[in-house]
Amino acid sequence: MAGPPILEVDELHAWYGESHVLHGMRFHVREGEVVTLLGRNGAGKSTTIKAVMGVVPKRSGSIRIRGVETIALPPHRIARLGIAWCPEERGIFASLSVLENLLLPPVVAEGGLSRAAVLSLFPNLAERLSSQGTKLSGGEQQMLAIARILRTGARLLLLDEPTEGLAPVIVQQIGRTIRKLKAEGFTILLVEQNFRFAARLADRHYIVEHGRVVDEIAASDIGPGQDRLVAHLAV
């Protein structure tokens, strides 16, 4: 079963310039869990993840990672607590080869996957190591973006819409990968718009609306909770 909380977010506010985007987010993720943030476009899901990584211009409240308060830390210090981010836009570097992209993130803790283990999870990448990073297809870029953070020893992964814009067969492959990572003990906070995808993977779901958590649904309640979900997510 899930362990102690590894990420605790409380009364989190964030701003982009004058625009106040998060209005007191509150949620937690336990060691070994897969938790999703669900919600409509613009609800503040991606901003929440960016705020956790410390890359929003302004934030306040409390974010504790393994008990360490990080609200005042710069992003590189936060990353070194063993947390890694796979951004929505994937962030593959054009001036780096696939291999350089893969090896770019510095190792922040013991226990990361070896290069061979990462490549066996994503065999497509092994054949393209010398290509320019952005010459890969969208699906391959997404796999590379996930692959490179598995090497670093970070055990808490923030995945921002990993299935966005991808073909169903690739979405399935990413789903299998997330399940495999969970089995290996990774903790994952997943932002998704694709509820069908998220429902099969996650232990718990948080529903985000207007920059705050409005509901929490456990996977076991997904049957009865479905109506609540549809109510929240219906456009």
């Binding site: 990584m53 410390g54 890359v55 710069p74 992003p75 590189h76 936060i78 990353a79 070194r80 890694a84 981010w85 951004p87 962030g91 570097f93 054009a94 001036s95 780096l96 350089e100 090896l103 770019l104 993130p105 510095p106 922040v108 953070i149 670093t152």
Partner: protein
Amino acid sequence: MTEFFGIPAPVLFGQLLLGLINGAFYAILSLGLAVIFGLLNIINFTHGAQYMMGAFTAWMLLNWLGLGYWWALLLAPLLVGASGILIERLLLKRLAGLDHLYGLLLTFGLALVIQGLYRDAFGSTGLPYAIPAELRGGQNLGFMFLPNYRAWVVVVSLAVCLATWLVIEKTRLGSYLRAATENPTLVQAMGVDVPKMVTLTYGFGVALAAFAGVLAAPIYQVSPLMGADLIIVVFAVVVIGGMGSILGSIVTGFGLGVIEGLTKVFWPEASSTVIFVIMAIVLLLRPAGLFGRAG
């Protein structure tokens, strides 16, 4: 005597060598500018003044402390680079996220202040700096006389440029640098101390300028305005090569030096404008520069 297109060989090769020497300085200086622009997004107008500071530091080390050329080659880049780190930490850092114009104004103003201080302290006439004993004399190559010091400048500049290029293109540190040039936020979120990298990069770019200044001290007079004259041409080189392109700045630096040298032989009147004419043509045909990425 051998002639090419009616030009005596020693004259032709002499100007070619002079062009290579100038090209070496263009290359090192524009390389520093390219590295700084890539990561800091700042057009470092202080670069010429920092090149001058390198030459003056060599002169001061020799005349005040008795430390010769070889010490200067090591110490001047370190000292001037450290002053660059100070400038980045105290001033440039505050401009992050603002329009290019602010960085341009600040670094241009700094250049004027630094040049003014040096002119006040040393006067505007140049100070001599002797060629180190080991590099005096020259080789008679048959078709021309090659002064040892000039050969040294070309070789060591090429070596420094290539080493910098290798570090940026082939090493792990270089991959951080290239990645942070594209997306500093993401690289920092991976655990790399990007603010420190930015500071050190500026220090390194400035150190390159100072290194060029030490190389230049025995060739040109050490004077407060030596950088101001050169930097205008170097900016043209940067524009032609493509802002921020590492390889572009090296190739364009040497290439334009040689073109300028040849123009002196074949059409002396045009030699001081040829680089700017090329810049105008390149800007018309390829606005991003010869090696620049469009957009």
